[in-house]
């Protein structure tokens, strides 16, 4: 038996051969670490995403004078509402063709939270007319919020359609 130093010095051929094999493995790994490229979206396609959060209406009625009188003074709000909110109706057309028409249920266990949607639409690059409609109260006829946008989509463009009731409804990012 020779010392540990001598034992590996005597094995230089194995170290060289082993090193070459592991280097080959590493180079193979490095190659697959970024190749081949993955085509996630076909060339010439643009992405439109509709993402919004909006609360549907609650079913409320006025309290009668009797009811109000029974309540402690500090709790006499004039209306009672159900916890559950109404679903929000959203529709979207591209060049007059419907691509989305959905009743978005309220979130939360009691259905008291806002309705949400995140929807992807892939479109070939080009010019389009987007029509958007939203209704948050089934009691009213038609749509409270309506918008139309003429867009010119470049390949690989990402267009986000968002909604904010306070600032008037649909808007583009």
């Amino acid at each position: 038996m020779t010392g540990p130093r001598a034992s590996w010095l005597g094995r230089l051929p194995q170290i060289a051969l082993g090193g070459v094999l592991i280097l080959a493995l590493v180079l193979g790994v490095a190659t697959l670490s970024a190749r081949p490229a993955w085509q996630s979206l076909a060339p010439g396609i643009a992405l439109v995403r509709l993402s919004l959060t909006h609360s549907g209406a609650r079913n409320c009625r006025d309290r009668t004078a009797d009811e109000l009188a029974k309540l402690p003074k500090n709790m006499r709000s004039p209306q009672v509402c159900e916890r559950r909110r109404a679903p929000v109706r959203v529709e979207m057309d591209v060049d007059g063709h419907s691509v989305l028409a959905a009743d978005l249920p309220p979130s939360g266990l009691a259905g008291s939270g806002p309705s949400r949607i995140y929807h992807r639409i892939e479109l070939p690059a080009g010019s389009y007319r987007l029509d958007l409609r939203l209704s948050d109260d089934p009691a009213t006829q038609g749509f409270e919020y309506v918008a139309a946008f003429d867009v010119d989509l470049h390949p690989a463009e990402s267009l986000a359609v968002d909604f904010d009731a306070a600032s008037g409804g649909f808007f583009l990012h």
Binding site: V29, L41, I45
Partner: protein, 525 residues
Amino acid sequence: MTAGPRAVLRHGFDRLERILDRAFGPDWNPLAQLGPLGWFLFWIVAVTGIYLFIFFDTGVTDAYASVTWLSADHWWHAGVARSLHRYASDLMVVVMFTHLIREWAMDRYRGRRWFSWITGVPVIWFVYLSGITGYWLVWDDLAQYVALTSTELLDSLGIFAEPIARNFLAPELLSSRFFTLMVFLHIAIPLLLLLLMWIHIQRITSARTRPPRVLGAITLGALVVGSVAMPAPLGRAADLATVPTRVDLDWFLLSLYPVIESLPAGAIWAGVAGFTVLLAGLPWLPPRREGAAAAVFLDHCNGCARCVADCPYAAITLVPRSDGLPFAHEVEVNAARCVACGICMGACPSSTPFRRSGELITGIDLPDRPLAALRADAIAASGALAGAGRVLTLACAHGAAGAAPGRIILPCVAMAPPSLVDFIISRGLADGVAVAGCAERDCFNRLGVAWTRARFARERDPYLRARVPRERVLTVWAGPSERPRLEAELSAFAGRLATLPAYENLRPLGDDEAAATPTREGGAR
């Protein structure tokens, strides 16, 4: 041997490993060092990660610029560290899955060895999560792709109040708080991974977490050369006004992403859950039949703790003496961990077949294959030997040896106490003893080869006594695909024995020694 998928795979590994044995030497064979290599790669990733953090800007707006800067201006240290960080992580995926498949092929994951397997399953996901959060931080188009695809998948679960994919809807929505969360996760998840890797090896004794020094050096050297030769690429800066169309995907850590894109989210989650449950259930599909756990016989135990040191599965503990005998300790076997390998019996100083008076009992023994039966097996096997150069073989059930006359198959060759070899030769049961174990690079019972060698070399208790003529003892380490070599070595050994003069210290078997009956498993068949 049945030709099921496991046997086929096991033979395949064995053949490949024999080639690598020749290239690296059995002790540096990387396929026999996958667990230690996994640990080593983890540390490379950890150290280079800490180094990268010195140069990395954790703000979402500056992250990409800092990565560009360190990859270009400081390519010779920080850039190399970045490539090392990436390629070592990728290699870890390769090592991990090869290790998983190999442990399955070697059948080292079932029965009472289930623990390492089960704890290995979450390790897989934490390796992936570490990689995914890492790619996110670069904030190039690949990062954007990963961010978008991941958050859309997560949102499909419907557990977040606000869809998190909204963070990546448009440039002005990108929140630096979300990015900070990813930075935090990329540190926290690898730390949890380390914890899981540590738990993974808790039920085995002296787990190898470091590869042999030279193998480690070769691996690190190759990674450095690879990092200089092929620096990790960097995509274009992320731009949320566009959508990434073509990305340079890491096919190790991100290979699930194309799948995520092509299948409905529900199928992905079901697949992940199904894969995890199936993998975790494998040790019971079907379970392995194992012998009863080792039993301690206090009358023959002096608390020397050799069995504690030799058990590969941390199944024996030293506890205070309970029976009033004048020793400080005794041992206790944890039956849930004992795989009935018998290595403890081979380690016990009381395990000597020479005792003539009374029953042959030792300090720790296998109820299904006690020392007394082993001695009887040896005597029975001896009856099947004739002519000059009689070889009695003590063979491992997991090596190359098949059943044959004059051969005793053991769960592990380290189950045979060295005194059994002495007994066989000095009683004239055979002219020589061959010990045929697993391939030298890796033992089915982890430490059986190492202990047998050390005992025979008189480096570890119990020693093979000096009086045993070494020319009458042969050790052969051979894997399942090496049966021809084993048989050739055995017959060459028999040939050498035939030329030796008769053994001069022969003390023939007494009538009282031949009493016990052999077991079904062993003896002449």
